[in-house]
Each structure stands twice: as C-alpha cells, then as structure tokens.
C-alpha cells in the first residue's frame, strides 16, 4: 500500500504521474522530474520514460512472439502456441478483408501490430496498481506508470501515425487535387453560383471531420484506459480504510478486472479496426 504518510489524493496523484525526463527550468539541468508540476514545467522537450519503456518493451514482446512463431512455424500439425498466433492472425486478416478491399500489404500487419500492441499495453492495467510503482519506489524511481495507453502521448502518437498514413494514401490514391476536392465538394452540393460561398464552408466542415478521426481514435483509447486505471486506483484506496471496506474493495477489484478484460480487448480491437476503416476510406477514390 501507499504507506501511512501519504494522503489519499497524494496517493492517487502519485499513480497518475509519469516518470518524466527533461530540462528542469528551475535548476537548469536535465533530470527526472520530482513532481507532477515539475514535469509540467518541463514543457514539450521532455519525455515520459516509463511510458516509452513499457511501450517499447511490450511492442518488443509482441514482435518476438510473432517472429518466433514465424521462425518455428510448420505447415504440418501446429502446436498450441502456433495455433494461438494463427488464430490472432486469421482473426485480424478476416476483419481487414471485410473492411478493406484494396491491394495493400501494409494494412493487415498494421492492424495486427495495433491490435496486439494496444492489447498488451491495456493488459498492464490488470497488474495490481501498487505492485510495480512500489517496487520502483524501492529501487529509487519516484514515479512509474506501467500502462502506456493511459498516457495520451502514446495513444495520440499512434492515432496521428495512422492519420499520417491516411493523408499519405489519400493523396497517393486520389491525387492532391482529388483529395482537396473531396474535402471541398461535400457535404453541400456546389454549383457555379454558390461556389465562392459554399466551398470554404464545405472545406472547413470536412476538415473538422477529417481531424476528428485521429483525435477521437487516440482520445477514445486514452479515455477508456485512464478511467479504468482511475477506478482501479480508487478501489485500491479502499484497502487502506478499514477491514469491511477492504473486503468490499477486493470484491470490487475482482469484478472490475473481469469487466476490464472485455474493455481492453474491445478497445484494442476498435483502435485496430477503425484504423483500417480510415485507411480504407483513404483508398476509396470515388465514394460519392
């Protein structure tokens, strides 16, 4: 537990703060931020070391698993591990085929990477909230947030990467003019007389729709995971109150974890499928 000296709000605050490394404007040195306000003061040119480390570690686990599966794969009778990997791959491919009907070798591996990686990141949410931060404290690390998908930097980075691909394929498949005209001639039909008036309105409306895609994509995942983590933390606070509340908290934690298993899978799946849908729209040259 968080220890008697910490207040409840301090405990929660501690669990929601990233381990940030950056230039501290007060001391003028590159160092780990000692508090949330210090981290905020570092501004953009700082990095959340814990988010990056867990995210890269989990991504590496994903790649190792799948590359190992590919190495040891046999076209004969598959073992349980290979079966499991193939099940994931076939599930993803089926989803991609049902949504995306263009020729693109990137999309299916992209969907697979997003799904498994995001799932693994979300899965860290099921690790009891105190274990790793307390271990980190013992090791002298002040903050340790182990669920990378509760860091908006991580989710937005992935959403913006997908968005960059969407822009790239939109321009590649439709041409810059085609892409811009797609933005300008909707949703209001434009005629010769209304053009000067309606074109900007259309463009602004479509631009908002376009930008809403990555924002909603990234913030949906962040919001779900952040809220889930928050509830785990609030339940953990109950443990330090009294015995009755602690028992209730145990039951609640179990129930929430069961429910959360659904949420993390669903969110990983949503992120992956929506990315494919956006990319599919980018490829659809003529959807009017």
């Amino acid at each position: 537990m968080a220890g008697e000296t910490l207040t409840t709000s301090g405990y929660i605050q501690h669990h929601l703060t990233n381990l940030t490394y950056g230039l501290n404007p007060e001391t003028g040195e590159w160092e780990f931020a000692a508090s949330a306000s210090e981290a905020a003061a570092m501004g953009f040119w700082s990095i959340n070391v814990d988010s990056m480390a867990w995210s890269i570690g989990l991504g590496a686990i994903f790649l190792l698993l799948f590359i190992k599966a590919g190495r040891s794969a046999t076209s004969g009778q598959p073992g349980p591990f290979q079966n499991f990997i193939e099940m994931i791959i076939e599930g993803i491919e089926e989803q991609v085929l049902s949504v995306f009907d263009h020729k693109n070798d990137l999309v299916a591996p992209l969907a697979l990477t997003i799904f498994v990686w995001v799932f693994l990141m979300n899965l860290m949410d099921l690790v009891p909230v105190d274990w790793i931060p307390e271990l980190a404290l013992l090791a002298g690390v002040p903050y340790m947030k182990i669920v990378p998908s509760t860091d908006p930097n991580i989710t937005m980075a992935m959403a913006l990467s997908v968005f960059a691909l969407v822009i790239y394929y939109s321009i590649k498949c439709k041409g810059l003019g085609g892409f811009l005209s797609e933005l300008s001639f909707h949703p209001f039909p434009v005629s010769k007389y209304t053009a000067p008036f309606l074109l900007p309105i259309n463009f602004i409306l479509e631009l908002v729709t376009l930008i809403a895609k990555p924002v909603s994509l990234g913030l949906r995942l962040f919001g779900n995971m952040y809220a889930g983590e928050m509830i785990f933390i609030l339940i953990a606070v109950m443990f330090s109150a009294n015995l009755a509340l602690a028992i209730l908290g145990g039951a609640l934690q179990w129930a929430w974890a069961v429910f959360h298993v659904l949420i993390i899978t669903l969110q990983a799946f949503l992120f992956s499928v929506l990315s494919v849908v956006y990319l599919s729209q980018a490829h659809d040259a003529d959807e009017h």
Binding site: L63, D105, P109, L110, L112, A157
Partner: protein, 156 residues
C-alpha cells in the same frame, strides 16, 4: 499528462514496429499458413482419389468373384460328369474282370472235374480188373487187357 516528446518517440517506435511486423512477422506466418492450406487441399484431393479407387477396386473384386464363382461351378460340373464317367468305366471294367475270373474259374473247375473223372475211371478200372482177377483166380495178361480196360474206361 503533458503532451511532450513521448508523442514523437512513440510515433517513431510505432513506425518501426509496424515495419518490423510487415517485414519479419507477418509474411513467414502467412506463407506457412498458405502452404498448409495447400497441403490440406491436396490431402483432401488425394483422399477423394483414394476413395474413388477403392470404389473401383470393390466393383472389380465383385466382378472377379462372380467370374470365379462361374468358373468354379463349371469346373465342378465337369468334375461331376467326369467322375460319373469314371465310375461307369470302373463298373464296366470290374464286371468284365469278374466275368473273366468267373469264366476261368469255371474252366478250372471243368478241368479239375475232368481230371478227377479220369482218375476215378482209372481207379475204378483197376478195381474192376483186380476184382475180375480175383473172380477168375488166375492171372490175366495185363498187357492184353490193357486196351480192353482203356476202352472200358472211355465208355464210362
């Protein structure tokens, strides 16, 4: 919860991981799955072929069996007539043999009878002569009467 360099870091990481996945993870697994699909398909085809061949073999076997049965029936029929014929022949041969044996036995008996008759005749004639000798109480020229006795014996 500040937007900072992590955004860039994660974007770069994301790109690298997606590229790795596309380059090293996805293709070998897909290739292997396609390979297995092909193996299963060809296995199914082979199974179907085997099934067809089995059905054909079964009908062939039926045909062979009925042919063999017909052949066997023919052979049995032939054997039956042949055995009947052989039995007939054997019967005839036995009958002939029996007749022949009977015949020779009859002739043997005849010969034996004649010989016995001859012997009897001679003995009788001897007895008659000795009887006559005794009756006459005198020697009778045996040589003289031999011819007479022979004649007598022939008349018996």
């Amino acid at each position: 919860m500040n937007i900072n360099l992590t955004l860039l870091g994660q974007s770069i990481t994301f790109g690298i991981f997606v590229w790795f996945c596309m380059r090293f993870a996805w293709p070998p697994i897909k290739a292997m799955m396609a390979e297995r699909q092909e193996a299963i398909a060809s296995g199914l085809r082979a199974a179907q072929d085997a099934e067809e061949r089995l059905a054909k073999a079964a009908s062939d076997v039926d045909e062979e069996i009925s042919q063999a049965k017909a052949e066997a029936a023919k052979i049995i029929e032939a054997a039956r007539t042949q055995s009947a014929q052989m039995i007939d022949e054997a019967k005839n041969a036995a009958k002939e043999e029996a007749d022949r044996i009977l015949e020779s036995a009859k002739s043997d008996i005849d010969q034996e009878m004649n010989r016995a008759r001859e012997t009897l005749r001679r003995e009788l004639s001897g007895l008659v002569i000795s009887g006559a000798e005794q009756v006459l109480q005198e020697s009778i020229d045996a040589g003289k009467h031999e011819a007479l006795l022979e004649q007598l014996a022939g008349e018996l």
